[in-house]
Amino acid sequence: MLMSLPQVTALANKIKDILNRKAGLQSKGTRIVPANDATNRPLLGVIAIMCYFAALAGESVLMINRAVDEWTSGLSSAITIQVRPVAGDTALSLDTQIGELLKIVRAAPGVTRVQELSRRDTEKLLEPWLGAGNILDELPIPRLIDVQIDRAHPPEMELLSLNISRIAPNAKLNDHAQWNDRILIFANFLRGLAFGILILTIITTITIVLFATRAGLTAKHEIVEVLHLTGAHDAFIAREFEKQFMSLGLRAGLLAIAAALLTFLLFSGLISRYANAEIYFLPTPDLYFSDFLLLLLIPLGAALVATLTTRVTVLRVIGRTL
């Protein structure tokens, strides 16, 4: 999936050939308006860096989406009932309350499965915080009932909540909606941030190409003048410049996605090596085929942005001449 540097260069050269084939010059590979290698090489680097940022931002959005899906799909199909023991409650009366609760919840429409978490389960949940041991005896640990609901036809939460508190005044129904909302706020913030970075890289690329095109026009003004006087339309001249920057954008984009792929291979390698259940909140950084297709948009997008910027700039500048 990853392209080696020679492969990237070969692909770029091929594209160059295709671009040149259209110009009807005798000597193949010659352009009417030559590229300035001395200025274009650093330019290639800077645009490649922009593309790399764009690739990271795009891939981050995909990972955020995937993580949000993983978190919320588990949570939104489950609700929890928490029953806190209060002073005077004996284990026996608590058991009775729980027995009653299980009965009415099970009977409620939209509920698919109801199960009280056993002591062992609860202990396990608390172990990371309180350490192993016979915790339940010393602490007023709430008892938890795990309720799976039918997401398509969820139960009437308010009614359920009312019924529950009638039986056990200290019981609390938690449908995770709040937790869900918080994840979404956070995820949306990150998505917005990534989108903002993407916009900034595009603006930066436009600016870079704009200045490079202006410099190119100044450096090549004699050629431009001859072309004009020989009857070339503005669009013809613009195309000569576009070829340069289109291939520059393509090459920069290809370099960038090669670097981005390396970065993600490194990242997923790190995670699969060091991650365990304790950092379950980290999203799985697998590269999907669809991600790869999305990365391919980056060289295309860079070429498009560079081409359009060059065209607009050239047409504007030479439009002022006779």
Partner: protein
């Protein structure tokens, strides 16, 4: 075909270097443009190949009002005009062949369609062996011949040549003049700017002479004309 009426030329805010220039060129005509150095021959040609607009007056070419023509219409007219620039203006990184082919490439011709024409033309001007040479590796006279080949390759309706024989020996000079005469026979109007009196005396053609800041049309000064 080309008509100037009371045309003035000035650079920037300076005084007019030429004023009240009026003349008319018939299709298929042949003219010399003479005048001392600095009188404005190149400047006058610049108006004809639309590198500048006049400071006043009217110019019509091929039935179009050049002074008020929108710039989008200029390329079509410029393609009908071949120009040999005084300073050649070849494209240095292109071969002699590609330089000559440029007007055809711009007009959208395909390489296979023009290859023979371009080679033949370069052979005619004595550069058949130097098709792939880049202009900086050519002598001044050789560059001038490439420039001439480029000007005539698209068979223009109007040929403007600014000192086209200034850098070559008389023998090649004559050969180049033949090129212009042949083109003229095909129906093109030709204007040749020169201060080479021997050239003007050899060919029977009327002379547009720049004197005292304006243009005077004289009959041919060639012997027997």
């Amino acid at each position: 075909m080309l008509r100037f009426e009371n045309v003035g030329i000035r650079y920037g805010m300076g005084a007019e270097i030429l004023r009240d220039v009026s003349f008319h060129l018939e299709p298929g005509s042949f003219h010399f443009l003479t005048g001392a150095s600095g009188t404005g021959k190149t400047s006058l040609l610049k108006l004809m190949y639309m590198a500048r607009r006049p400071s006043r007056g009217w110019i019509t070419m091929f039935g179009q009002d050049l002074v008020h023509l929108p710039r989008t219409k200029l390329p079509e007219i410029r393609r009908r005009v071949g120009v040999v620039f005084q300073d050649f203006r070849l494209i240095n990184h292109l071969s002699a062949f590609d330089n000559v082919a440029l007007p055809l490439v711009i007009a959208g011709a395909r390489r296979d369609d023009y290859r023979e024409d371009v080679e033949e033309l370069l052979t005619w001007v004595g550069l058949g062996e130097r098709l792939d040479a880049k202009p900086p590796t050519l002598s001044g006279g050789e560059q001038q011949r490439v420039a001439i080949a480029r000007a005539v390759v698209a068979k223009p309706d109007l040929l403007l040549a600014d000192e086209p024989t200034g850098n070559v020996d008389p023998k090649i000079g004559q050969r180049l003049m033949r090129l212009f005469i042949e083109l003229n026979k095909l129906g093109a109007s030709v204007v040749i700017a020169t201060h080479d009196d021997s050239l003007v005396r050899k060919i029977a053609a009327p002379v547009l002479s720049l004197e005292n800041g304006t243009l005077i049309k004289r009959p041919s000064s060639a012997k027997g004309a």
